[in-house]
Assembly symmetry: D2
Homo-oligomer: 308 residues x 4
């Protein structure tokens, strides 16, 4: 087995040099300003060691990666009753598709497509003030990452508030089926803001540790969720974490993972490591192009695939 | 860790006694004759030990489980060129849906829905005689299971030949997009027959060993496929192996698996075991009801989930 | 040919007595208060004679019938450029479907499904204040019907403003494709209000005269639109005027017509008459149950079908 | 009103000269051999006068126009029971779409899309021999056109038999829902052959007379169908006769019509004339490009639109 440090360093070097970098997301205007040349990686192993490469300390918009943490919070609040309001099957559709909602009575296919994550946000909000709910999500991430400096990029949130018509369509559509309980603007306000949380690869890999270690922080032993729940969240990440590229990610990388259109990916090697990568250029399915390749290299060289 | 023998015995006893048994498939008339009370399980561990419970020696129609082995053969024949003719994303649709084909120019979403498996069969056939191709598939299974007694249930094959109008629709539809190269009747003939192969849980678990052990027979060390290919087949089984219930299976069982409407499931615990279960009653997604529950028990008690 | 007065009276009597009355729309709460026993009919012939039956003077919510008049206004404003923003094919989908929008880049299929009518409203609004635009639509109807008493039922408008989540979804969805130019709330405000215009059968039949007579008021000779435009609006009413029941209406009634979920239908017998019927109970496609039957009787007895 | 002879002559001259001629259908190999420069027109008025222009005597493959006549025959056989097996709504889909079938349990939307016409053919076949049924269809056309020379182009039929995989898919799909009663090959055999009937514009316009004149041959007074049935067939032609271009045809031409991929269109001006045009180049919806333009000219100049 090669040294993790060596592997991470070589991956960062390769990714830095590659000419193919994907397309930076433009559908949220503020995200279009990201640097296509950026690449970062951070790996936290079971001993709590953090190995980083490239722009691992630079904060980026985590976007849909936040959905892993809001799902965790919503399950903590209402447990399996959550599954009455959102499914857990891959959708076979793009991240912002509304067709599936019409065919299935407004119930989103899974918590990681936009519609599903909006429904999950509505569960966390549940009658509270948007500001309070957003604070709760932010504190949860700060706690998991052991870093109180994590915050929201207000420019990104405002940009999405102004232009997020498709998410507004999804939310109103679900509201028409009574899948959302709170005022649409409240739910969307929280949703847009938690997607606009900015984190570095280091912070993100730290926050994901509990998923790699049976629901616990391996350093402190503190339990975040039960082992069964950690496994199940990982399962949903594997089948649904990359929108309509989830099969491809499983095939090539072989780890549970969740991507965001900001170019980040959080991946989990159960029992071994929590991993975050970031590169703003996306592939056709809306997932980080170099991020996926970097993770493919990492699992191959470290033998971390969950598939053997 | 409990004894595997104890776990398997207790699962067989529980499954034998449960009143909820699902619905026996009726869409192939011959399959409707299966005994809803049957339940079998067989586990082959890395040392080659076979632990069985219930009706583990009774032969049943493996149906779509054959698709794992035809995929393996097709990859052996043309490698990654296969992916020009079939995708590897979950479909978000029932096993026999044709909608997806119309939306995606006749290219099936993955090799485990019916359309995809027909396209894979067409690749194996590739200009040969149906009889010869079918012989090749059968010999491959006999070799993997180390059992020359494995054969085809001709009554099931004939029943499907007479009534398989929906599969005939899928095949002709793909033919109209030039996704199939052979005469439709040739390809379907091979497809209907390899789905009609009859195997016991013991034979099936034996045949699946290479997927659990890096592509090798762990007893003999003989390599069937490369470690990478074994991992990738497992990944496709995880994301696509249970039709529109694949997310549910990953969530509850946490193993790569492939089900068939005959009530069988082949599951793979990488590095640990190859597992086959059988109970003819199906759930709403067309997967064995008790088979899935049995596998859920097994992975929980043995700690075999790939998700931590 | 029977006397029109006799036919209208007998139709009103039959409809008053029938036990099958359809289901009053409940999706806008305020509409659910309509009296299922109501039935009205008004026919204006080419000489300008008005023949009425039943509750022909009672005002009801015209709902989607307003779309005929907003289409006329929008064509008056921008002519055939309108067809860049909305199609003119039957949709094969329910009135509030969003699936078609996703498949066709946010361009609604025709101006008579909800999405299409919202896009048409956006064209009329075109940078003006909602209040002014609404005034323009209202004055157009008052002018056509020669009745300044026509107004908006504010309770219905407010009810739809509060609950119209699905229309809000459609509008935001189109906005995400830049099909709408004005703020979504402005466009929807005008849309909800023009759907809430209340008219009697008499007023509606008067307003529809220009469509029956080559674009002119047959009494005054005053031209509203060109003969070609009148024909074309009639053609769209025939193919698209009854949502997913348009084929059925053409088959049974044989006249261009537009229905609303308030239970009204405006129908046009070219060269012969403008007709309005009203009965609040709807059929499965959302069209007035007795209204359609009444029109079927009328065209059969008067020989007014456009199909021979 | 201009002279019909003058109008027809001028239309034939304009169409002969236009450079835009559409694309000759290639999906049936044999049809691809048609001459893109051909154009023919024939009009039979209520006095039985036949006015022709261009290549009005040249035989072409009527293809889907045959569906008007098979619908008439099927209604003659089982009356309104036909509507249990096929709908009468526009489909909003291309002529050979299978998506709609999956969504609606194998019941085709209307008798003029391919699936619907195959179901109608199955009704006519109804246990008879394909050869006899085909003879019946052919004799019906010979009788209507008063021309025993009408026959089948066997090369076209054979070409479609060899390559009609998509129609084969549609038929098998419906068979899986028990919408077809006869062996799929029998029904398709009759379908492929009646689509391959070859007729000239003159013959086709003669055959369509009964639809323009209340179900009767205006010359002999002989009744083919009841007036109501003639109106209803016209209504279905109007809403469904041009696949996903039916709205466009109604909007521009304003007559009931049925097109075929051979480039022919049969149109009906109720009470006035039966019209056939032919030009092999098709538009994007699969309808004759110049045929539609020619009919638009004709109705405008003669004032024959049914819409006023």
């Amino acid at each position: 087995m090669p040294e993790l440090e060596t592997v991470v360093r070589e991956i960062a070097e390769e990714m830095r040099a590659r000419p193919d970098r994907g397309e930076v997301a433009s559908y949220i205007p503020e995200l279009a300003r990201a640097d296509a040349n950026a690449f970062g990686i951070a790996v936290v192993d079971r001993e709590g060691r953090v190995v980083v490469g490239g722009d691992a300390e630079a904060a980026f918009s985590i976007q849909s990666i936040s959905k892993v943490f809001t799902l965790t919070l919503a399950l903590g609040k209402i447990g399996d009753r959550l599954w009455r309001r959102v499914g857990r099957e891959p959708s076979g559709s793009p991240f912002n598709s509304i067709v599936q909602l019409e065919n299935e009575h407004g119930i989103p296919r899974n918590p990681f497509i936009n519609a599903g994550a909006i429904a999950v946000t509505d569960v966390i909000l549940s009658g509270h003030q948007p500001r309070d709910t957003l604070g709760e999500i932010l504190r949860f991430l700060q706690f998991l990452a052991e870093d109180p400096a994590i915050g929201i990029d207000e420019a990104v949130a405002a940009s999405e508030q102004r232009t997020g018509f498709r998410n507004r369509a999804l939310a109103n559509y679900m509201k028409s089926f009574n899948v959302l309980e709170n005022p649409v603007d409240f739910t969307l306000g929280v949703y847009f803001h938690h997607c606009a949380i900015a984190m570095s690869c280091r912070q993100l890999a730290m926050a994901g540790r509990f998923l790699a270690h049976n629901g616990r922080n391996p350093a402190t032993g503190f339990s975040v969720v039960s082992p069964e729940r950690a496994r199940r969240i990982n399962a949903i990440m594997l089948t649904c974490g990359h929108y309509d590229g989830s099969g491809e990610f499983a095939y090539r990388v072989g780890l549970p993972g969740k991507s965001g259109v900001g170019g980040g990916i959080l991946a989990v090697a159960p029992g071994k490591a929590s991993i975050a990568v970031w590169s703003p250029g996306l592939d056709a399915s809306g997932n980080s192009h170099l991020g996926r390749i970097a993770l493919e290299r990492l699992t191959q060289r470290m033998g971390w695939s969950i598939f053997g």
